[in-house]
């Protein structure tokens, strides 16, 4: 009996520790759906501010990039509809830019949709290589591309500063300098 009462505080402490450690391991939820029919959801990409989620919706073997508001899941319009399958979407900070791989005949092509200006920029990557994965920096100034050339995979990084304006987080308030302040 004495042994049982002595083990109770230990057990309580263990349960409490497990509970607390569980709290620290992240809270999961499913990304909002996109209506009836379902299909595979692939290649998730969050905008820097977390307000947009891009992903590839795969139905009947064709992958199409979609853009959803977070939370809620409302679909946002995109100019990129054709040249499927799409893959490897990547978003800038406010979601102004969406980089994605599209299909042009037998070739994969990296393109960037500028949602603010309503235009699609097609990128010319080194000849003789096929782009396989993309990652756009959150300010839109650089693009990392996984290229397949002569059977070898290689990551290359490109400067986009001459092609795109920056997509920066909203300016932070400047402290001080008000009336009567130096």
């Amino acid at each position: 009996m004495a042994a049982r009462s002595a083990s109770l505080p230990g057990l309580t402490a263990l349960l409490l520790a497990l509970l607390l450690s569980g709290c620290g391991l992240g809270l999961g939820r499913r990304a909002p759906g996109v209506g009836l029919g379902g299909g595979n959801r692939l290649d998730p990409a969050l905008s820097g501010d977390g307000r947009l989620l891009a992903s590839v919706l795969e139905r009947e073997g064709q992958g199409r990039v979609i853009l959803q508001q977070q939370p809620g899941g409302g679909l946002r319009p995109l100019r990129l509809r054709r040249r499927q399958p799409h893959s490897s979407p990547s978003l800038s900070w406010n979601g102004r830019y969406l980089a994605v791989l599209v299909q042009e005949g037998p070739q994969r092509r990296a393109v960037i949709e500028d949602r603010l200006r309503g235009r699609v920029v097609r990128l010319q990557l080194p000849p003789g290589s096929q782009p396989e994965r993309l990652s756009l920096s959150s300010d839109g100034s650089r693009l990392a591309v996984q290229l397949l050339r002569n059977g070898r995979r290689r990551v290359e990084v490109f400067d986009l500063s001459g092609l795109l304006e920056r997509d920066l987080p909203p300016a932070r308030a400047v402290l001080g300098g008000g009336a009567g302040q130096p």
């Binding site: 900070w93 010319q124 396989e132 959150s138 990392a144 290689r154 990084v157 986009l160």
Partner: protein, 168 residues
């Protein structure tokens, strides 16, 4: 009596040529400028894959002497950063993502026959397992820029789904 065709003024011909050249260039696409020094450094590896850019950081998987390892590169200084406790010979990393501070890396890796999702904190050199609930097999992961949310591609019952995980 034959009438001679009038040649267009030279400046109009030049304008036409320029328009054709511009049209062809537009079809080919815009040519982004490669970061030569960084790309040269990456070319020294046997192979590299799964790039993830955030802020000034590039995370990727590279192969040297037949072994995979995760690399974190400061793109502005063209310097590699140490990742103590992350790379281990018995684990195979499949996909990864980094936050804009270069502090957190999320990885999908295979270890002991399991595919797991883990979060690495660089300043502490710590690695912790992130549970997937309901159970599923992760494949790709992306961290939000502030490192506080994670989007994960998960396979469940033959269907790929996307989970969003809030991180403390």
């Amino acid at each position: 009596m034959t009438r001679l065709a009038k040649a267009p003024p030279p400046h109009l011909a030049l304008l036409a040529v320029a328009a054709v050249v511009a049209g062809i260039a537009g079809c080919a696409g815009e040519r982004p400028r490669p970061l030569v020094a960084l790309n040269g450094q990456l070319a020294g590896e046997e192979s590299s894959r799964e790039p993830a850019l955030a802020g000034r950081w590039l995370a990727l998987i590279s192969t040297r002497e037949g072994r995979d390892r995760v690399q974190l590169v400061d793109v502005e200084r063209n310097a590699q950063l140490p990742l103590p406790g992350l790379n281990r010979p018995d684990a195979q990393v499949l996909n990864l993502s980094v936050d804009a501070a270069g502090e957190r890396l999320a990885l999908v890796r295979q270890l002991d026959g399991r595919t797991e999702l883990v979060l690495y904190q660089r300043s502490q050199g710590s690695l912790r397992l992130l549970p997937i609930n309901p159970a599923g097999v992760p494949r790709r992961v992306q961290l939000r820029a502030d490192g506080r949310q994670l989007a994960v591609e998960v396979s469940r019952a033959g269907l790929w789904q996307i989970d969003l995980l809030d991180l403390p």
